[in-house]
């Protein structure tokens, strides 16, 4: 089966700034594909080229076998888009917007079901300008899905939503995917990427650093384990650093923090037992996707791209 989205050697610059240097990626049918990366990494520019909103300087893009620039009419019927900054007329009511947008597509989804699914049913008669940020966000998700698209590209899906609304939105997206829609998610939320995405492309400085499952990405960052405990009596750091599975030892007050590979826990507990030291309040943390992100890009994942 041909890939749903194929991007090859995409390059895009704005005046003197290279937004996307060289991005290649493949999105498969039926998956939730995440695009993760720090601010200004080129995530949004990449998807805007895929949507046909921007003209790439170089490279090739196919969406469902269509060229985003030349086959616009056909593409817009099959591709649902949620823009990071895309609005509606201020005085348009929620239900009016959904009805209007559903008239644009040959086989639209049921807008009332979308309204319910996104918790906007009681806002049907509310004007766009009177909606809260989170409600506007949910409406823009609904509009991305209203055409019953084969592929939906969602940029900053849950930015501005409270935790409950975020979880509800994740459930909705999983439901949409289970009905056969392929989803591309641009995000900077690690929790969201970990929970929703089948595969992730990590983009940094306009290039794809790595494409893998969330677990695979974490593994490949080779961060291993972090072990914290309070020793029952003073322990010499050298006792631990001499272990081949341990990569580092630090102290946080009374606590000893040991970093090491997947065998570190075994090695540490063994050497402590041999020296009759009890590890109190022992905690083992697996590296998170966030740790992997920091390791692989050298940056912290912060807020959405500034506009």
């Amino acid at each position: 089966m041909p890939p749903v989205i194929e991007v090859r050697n995409l390059h895009k610059r704005y005046d003197d700034k290279i937004a996307v240097d060289d991005v290649s990626l493949t999105v498969r049918e039926g998956e939730i594909f995440g695009i993760l990366g720090p601010n200004g990494a080129g995530k949004t520019t990449t998807v805007e080229c895929v949507e046909g909103l921007r003209v790439p300087d170089r490279g090739e893009i196919r969406v469902l076998g269509l060229d985003p620039l030349h086959d616009r009419a056909e593409l817009t019927r099959r591709l649902g888009v949620q823009l990071q900054a895309g609005h509606l007329p201020e005085r348009l009511q929620v239900a009016e917007a959904l009805q209007l947008y559903s008239s644009f597509y040959p086989r639209p989804a049921d807008w009332r079901a979308l309204l319910d699914g996104l918790g906007l049913a009681d806002k049907a008669k509310t004007r766009y300008a009177k909606l809260s940020g989170g409600q506007k966000q949910r409406l823009s998700i609904a509009l991305a899905l209203i055409g019953g698209p084969r592929v939906a590209i969602l940029d900053e899906l849950t930015t501005g939503l409270d935790p409950q609304a975020r979880r509800d939105t994740w459930d909705l997206i999983e439901g949409v995917r289970s009905r056969g829609t392929t989803i591309v998610l641009v995000t900077h939320f690690m929790e969201e990427a970990e929970r929703l995405c089948d595969r992730l492309a990590l983009i940094d400085a306009g290039r794809v650093v790595m494409v893998d499952t969330p677990a695979g990405l974490t593994e490949r960052a080779r961060i291993g384990q972090r072990i914290r405990f309070r020793p029952s009596r003073p322990v010499d750091d050298r006792l631990l650093t001499s272990l081949p599975d341990v990569s580092g030892v630090t102290r946080q007050g009374e606590l000893v923090v040991v970093n090491g590979n997947d065998n570190a826990l075994n090695a540490v507990t063994t050497v402590l037992a041999r020296n009759q030291i009890v590890a109190e309040q022992l905690r083992v943390e697996q590296a998170s996707l966030e740790d992997a992100f920091v390791r692989l890009t050298g940056r912290r994942p912060d807020g959405p791209d500034p506009r």
Binding site: R77, H87, D110, L143
Partner: protein, 255 residues
């Protein structure tokens, strides 16, 4: 997800026109300043006996007779300088047009729907003003009705094209409103809102004939007096419509 019956959906274009018309009415600029204000003015002026005196050099038309077409032009001018460009520049600024680019319908049809909505409001206003002037104050309809209709269509075309050009050239909603306001007053002056064109000094009168509303007024006056409007005002209006529409299309930006 089930498809809705086609009847409920209607065609996208028709729904857009309906939505944009609803939005125009909710926006209040068109109904309030485009219809309400000139209508009140019409009623007030119609109640002033002094305005029932014939204007010198106007073929026997009274001051009030002349105010009826002036207020018809007032409506067009409000739509073209305040309603249309402010709305469309706002759409561009807020990403409404950009959002439309990702749908099968595209942003050009939003523009078209806005034009149709404003045109519809203009038709309603024109009919209403003529009816109120006729039934309320005994002002006869233009004697040459087809000529009047043609002149009005050309005037509406010219003014809406000017509105589009303002939208195209203004970088945002604020500047669009400012340009519109600055254009509105001189245009209305040359339509004869404050002084009838025939009472203006010769230089101003000559200028007036080549402004969009002055040309519109000249064509309307011909129609009121029973002639088919002369070529100069009609061609002037057509030229404004074509040139401004062409320039607007040339320089229009969706984002």
């Amino acid at each position: 997800m089930s498809a809705l019956p086609t009847a409920e959906r209607g065609s996208a274009t028709w729904r857009l026109v309906k939505a944009e018309s609803t939005l125009c009415v909710r926006d209040k600029v068109a109904p309030l300043w485009g219809i309400g204000f000139p209508l009140v003015l019409l009623i007030v002026l119609g109640s002033v006996p002094d305005l029932r005196e014939p204007v010198e050099g106007s073929g026997g038309l009274t001051y009030f007779d002349l105010y009826v077409p002036v207020l018809v032009l007032f409506n067009l001018a409000i739509l073209a300088t305040a309603s249309l460009p402010t709305t469309l520049a706002g759409y561009r600024e807020n990403g409404v047009l950009r959002r439309m680019r990702t749908t099968p319908v595209g942003p050009a049809r939003v523009l078209a729907a806005q034009l149709v909505a404003n045109f519809a409001i203009a038709v309603v206003a024109m009919v209403l003003f003529l009816a109120v002037a006729g039934f309320g104050f005994g002002v006869d309809l233009p004697q040459h009705l087809p000529g009047f209709a043609l002149a009005w269509l050309l005037a509406a075309g010219a003014l809406l094209a000017i509105g589009l050009l303002i939208t195209a050239l203004a970088p945002g909603r604020g500047p669009a409103t400012a340009i519109g306001t600055v254009l509105f007053f001189p245009m209305m002056f040359f339509a004869g809102l404050w002084v009838p064109i025939s009472q203006m000094p010769p230089l101003l009168r000559d200028i007036a004939h080549y402004t969009p509303l002055g040309a519109g007024m000249g064509a309307f006056q011909d129609a009121y007096l029973g002639h088919f409007p002369s070529a100069v005002p009609l061609l002037t209006l057509a030229a404004y419509a074509v040139v401004c529409a062409f320039a607007a299309v040339r320089w229009f930006r969706w984002e």
